[in-house]
């Protein structure tokens, strides 16, 4: 008996189309999730960098002030809840103005590069107070967010 029909073809076309729609929707949802995770990680990385800057504003011993142009000393290194880490170095520019360079980093996961934020602040160093700590004084144009 000969049986001719197109039912299997129609079913295959419908199933393929539905599959493509489902795959694209899944892909869009995945992209959204990644973008969200990246945005949250960047906020946390910025928080880590800001925390390192805030920590440095309390001051540091005079012995940590670099003497030679380009010389850097690490002033702050900290870890925050959520796997974010922050650090801050003091760099000599060769004059009375110094550079505080804060960095924050937070892993994103899922094979994506970590979120990273770098903030630089130009400061002049006030003389040591009664507690012998050097305190930074911000420059009127000192704050700059650099691309990582």
């Amino acid at each position: 008996m000969n049986r001719r029909g197109i039912a299997i073809l129609v079913a295959l076309v419908v199933l393929t189309t539905l599959g493509m729609i489902a795959a694209t929707a899944f892909s869009l949802a995945r992209l959204e999730r990644r973008a969200g995770a990246g945005a949250i990680a960047e906020v946390q990385a910025q928080g880590a960098a800001e925390a390192a800057l805030a920590e440095a504003s309390r001051g540091w011993p005079k012995t940590l002030v670099p003497a030679m142009p380009g010389q850097e000393n690490v002033l702050v290194s900290l870890s925050l809840p959520g796997s974010a880490v922050g650090s801050l170095v003091l760099r000599s520019l060769g004059g009375p103005i110094y550079l505080l360079r804060a960095a924050g980093m937070r892993p994103v996961g899922a094979g994506l590069p970590p979120a990273s934020v770098r903030i630089e602040v130009l400061v002049r160093l006030d003389s040591a107070g009664p507690d012998s700590l050097i305190r930074p004084r911000r420059d009127p144009r000192g704050w700059v967010r650099q691309s990582p």
Partner: protein, 276 residues
């Protein structure tokens, strides 16, 4: 005797046709709903991306603006739907300064640049070493070229024309910024509103950054310290941004069928980090 029956009856044909029609209608509705949701989701993602791009651009432009009595304010124009800022394109520190050229240290860790400085488009901001802190604006007069610092390390020579007053207090160790004046505003094009950027120094046409947006979709409220609104750029301590975007169809471009107006908005407070 055998009886042979070939073909189908009218009843069987009608039943088959009805079943096929029902099945086709079901498949069509499922496919159409899926396609609509997919397209709608894609457009909403695009809209959210536009809101994020504009918010990030406004924040990146306004957050670092500074000011002092010598070089003036980096926030040049502050209006409810547009602003002009001195936007940093490169930063570093000088190792030498003469009346015809500034030499910046060019080794890694010293020089940070989004692009190479361009004469006629970029200017320099350089800080005096002697207190109190003050900066000087000096135009870039020629194409930068590789050179050397007095200590022999690699440098980038930035041609300038500076008189003795501009050079006072400027020397090795002075911070340097390369900037251009950029305008960000809402503008109309192709029947829709877009947020765009342009360099004022070159007089170039505005280039789209993101869109489409609603009419009046970029609202900037400038606030002084403590929160009261101000129209004076010198008093601005923070900026409240409200941006209202539209999906592409509602904005007047793209596929015109389907639901209209799908607006969404974002609100952000940008704190001026180098506040007056």
């Amino acid at each position: 005797m055998s009886l042979t029956r070939r073909g189908i009856s009218i009843v069987e044909l009608v039943v088959a046709l009805v079943l096929t029609t029902l099945l086709a209608a079901l498949c069509w509705s499922i496919l159409a709903a899926g396609a609509f949701r997919l397209r709608d989701r894609s457009e909403r993602m695009s809209l959210e991306h536009s809101l994020r791009v504009v918010s990030a651009a406004v924040r990146a432009a306004l957050e670092p603006v500074g000011q002092d009595s010598s070089a003036g304010n980096d926030l040049v124009v502050a209006l409810p739907d547009r602003f002009v800022t001195r936007t940093t394109r490169a930063s570093g520190a000088l190792c030498d300064a003469t009346s015809t050229a500034f030499t910046a240290r060019a080794t890694p860790g010293w020089w940070s640049a989004l692009r190479n400085p361009v004469p006629g488009r970029d200017s320099l901001l350089v800080e005096r070493l002697s207190p109190p802190s003050s900066w000087e604006v000096i135009p870039l007069s020629g194409v930068p070229y590789p050179g050397a610092c007095p200590d022999g390390s690699p440098g980038l020579v930035l041609p300038v024309i500076a008189d003795s007053a501009a050079l006072a207090g400027v020397g090795a160790g002075a911070p340097l910024r390369v900037f251009e004046e950029m305008e960000l505003r809402l503008y109309a094009s192709s029947g829709a509103m877009w947020v765009g950027l342009r360099s004022l120094a070159t007089g170039e046409a505005i280039q789209p950054l993101a869109g489409p947006f609603a009419t009046g979709g970029l609202q900037l409220q400038y606030r002084s310290l403590g929160g009261p609104p101000t129209a004076d750029p010198a008093e601005v301590a923070s900026v409240l941004l409200r941006v209202t975007g539209l999906t592409e169809r509602a904005g007047g471009v793209g596929i015109s069928r389907g639901p209209v107006a799908r607006p969404d908005s974002a609100v952000m407070l940008v704190i001026r980090r180098n506040s007056p």
